[in-house]
């Protein structure tokens, strides 16, 4: 391994390699970004149905949500990805990036739903009662009181989910997609590099830097949301 640093230098000085890594990184980020959008949107819907008051209109939707989250959280992501690729979207010519986004989005929705549900339920019941006693509508109570407080509980856990999704998308290389992980493998198998360790190490740095940045942003958002908990003034 005494050629580790020279190899790293070689990798960074070869535009072709950097190009591959950046292409892979772009795909990883594209899948993650859109999957998380789907995850948060669908997860919010599921969480709202889940936390809504029991009524005859919601019996079936509530049941569907329970089955959905149970199945998604109870089966491996890799398996869900394979089913999407080789069963549900096994149409020739269907863009694989869309299949991957849907697979990860549907998966993330189940976890995000749990995060949002517990965030909503952790808001003190007295806060809702205050709004009720003042004659406010359920919608106003949710938008003005419940949601702003729930978000404070949701953001840290949602940050976790973002991190999980970004790293988990690495398994798309199993269905032949050229993401960051695949780019590393590709470079490593090339004649010139002839080493998996170096490109994998660099790919790891890419993941690490991205996630470090996201953690930083989430912390900042958290902090600004917690302003009203401080003993200060507006």
């Amino acid at each position: 391994m005494n050629d580790f640093f020279p190899k790293i230098a070689e990798l960074f000085s070869t535009p072709e390699y950097i190009d591959s890594l950046l292409h892979g990184f772009l795909l990883t980020m594209q899948i993650s970004y859109f999957a998380l959008l789907i995850g948060v949107a669908l997860g919010t819907v599921i969480a709202l149905i889940d936390t809504a008051k029991r009524s005859k209109w919601l019996v079936v939707p509530k049941f569907i949500c329970t089955v959905y989250t149970t199945v998604i959280r109870g089966t491996p992501m890799a398996l869900q990805l394979f089913i999407m690729f080789f069963v549900i979207f096994a149409v020739k010519g269907f863009p694989s990036i869309i299949t991957a986004i849907i697979a990860f989005g549907l998966n993330s929705a189940a976890y995000t739903a749990e995060v949002i549900r517990s965030g909503i339920q952790s808001v003190d019941i007295g806060q809702k009662e205050a709004g009720m006693a003042l004659g406010l509508s359920n919608f106003t109570i949710f938008m003005k009181i419940i949601a702003p407080q729930a978000i404070k509980n949701i953001i840290p856990a949602l940050g976790n989910e973002i991190i999980t999704v970004i790293k988990e998308t690495a398994i798309v290389s199993m269905v032949g997609m050229y993401d960051l992980n695949m780019a590393a493998k590709d470079i490593g198998s090339g004649q010139n590099m002839a080493s998996y360790i170096v490109p994998m190490f660099v790919a790891a740095l890419f993941y690490l830097a991205t996630i470090y940045l996201i953690t930083f942003i989430v912390r900042r958002v958290e902090k600004s949301l917690r302003r009203s908990d401080l003993r200060g003034e507006k």
Partner: protein
């Protein structure tokens, strides 16, 4: 239609939580300017009774009328504007400043314009000596301050009746005094009030009528003098022996 001066009528109110029958048929009237203190052992249903009046808990059966209008699922939101409520744990909205707490309902319900609501809020804050807390968040206030702000928040909508659900149970002795004197002041100004409390001496002082609830029923009613000095039932005698 009930007599003109009747504010609130409760008829055969029952409330169960699953198998647990908390209220077993309550008949009650509250007239304008009255100050009714609801007493009873813990678990007797007195808080549930109070919470059923503005439908914080939906009654299992029975009827509640405010000024002759029956409260139901459709009109309950509108009715709540006329029934202010103060909670044991204050329930100030924690993501809003004191001012935002005070003007939220009047502005949202279009009872007042924002400017007018802020003006009234400032007057009330000045009155309770907390003007400087206008922009503070609830987390920075003491219990007594929170409860007095919760009381003026309920007053912002100028309700016909104010319900107090154990307003001093979560406070330290000094804060209790502050909150009680604010309630006393509202009483002196003719506010119609219903209080669930454990403060016996305050009950004696402020009540025009005492209602005693046990096992989900009103078992005795009377003026404070009658109630404390000449209780009619064994149950109340036993209760008074224990708490006085």
């Amino acid at each position: 239609m009930d007599n003109q001066h009747t504010d609130l009528v409760v008829r055969n109110l029952k409330k169960s939580f699953g198998e647990n029958k908390v209220l077993r048929g309550i008949n009650f009237e509250l007239h304008e300017g009255e100050r009714v203190v609801v007493l009873g052992p813990s678990g007797s249903g007195k808080s549930t009774f109070l919470r059923c009046i503005n439908w914080m808990e939906e009654p299992t059966s029975g009827e509640i009328f405010l000024d002759g209008v029956r409260i139901d699922a459709k009109n309950v939101r509108k009715m709540r504007r006329n029934i202010g409520m103060v909670f044991q744990h204050f329930n100030l909205i924690s993501n809003m400043t004191v001012m935002e707490n005070l003007i939220l309902a009047p502005v949202k319900l279009r009872v007042m314009k924002k400017d007018a609501a802020m003006k009234r809020a400032r007057e009330l804050l000045r009155h309770i000596g907390l003007s400087e807390k206008e922009n503070a968040y609830p987390a920075s206030l003491s219990g007594g301050q929170k409860q007095r702000i919760a009381i003026i928040r309920a007053m912002m909508l100028s309700p016909e009746v104010l319900l107090f659900d154990e307003p001093t149970s979560a406070l330290d002795p000094e804060a209790i005094g502050d909150v009680l004197s604010l309630i006393r002041e509202l009483a002196d100004r003719g506010m119609t009030i219903m209080i669930v409390t454990h403060e016996m001496s305050f009950a004696k002082e402020i009540a025009t009528r005492i209602v005693f609830i046990d096992k989900g029923r009103i078992i005795e009613e009377g003026t404070p003098k009658e109630f404390f000095e000449h209780p009619k039932t064994e149950r109340v005698k036993e209760f008074l022996n224990r708490v006085l």
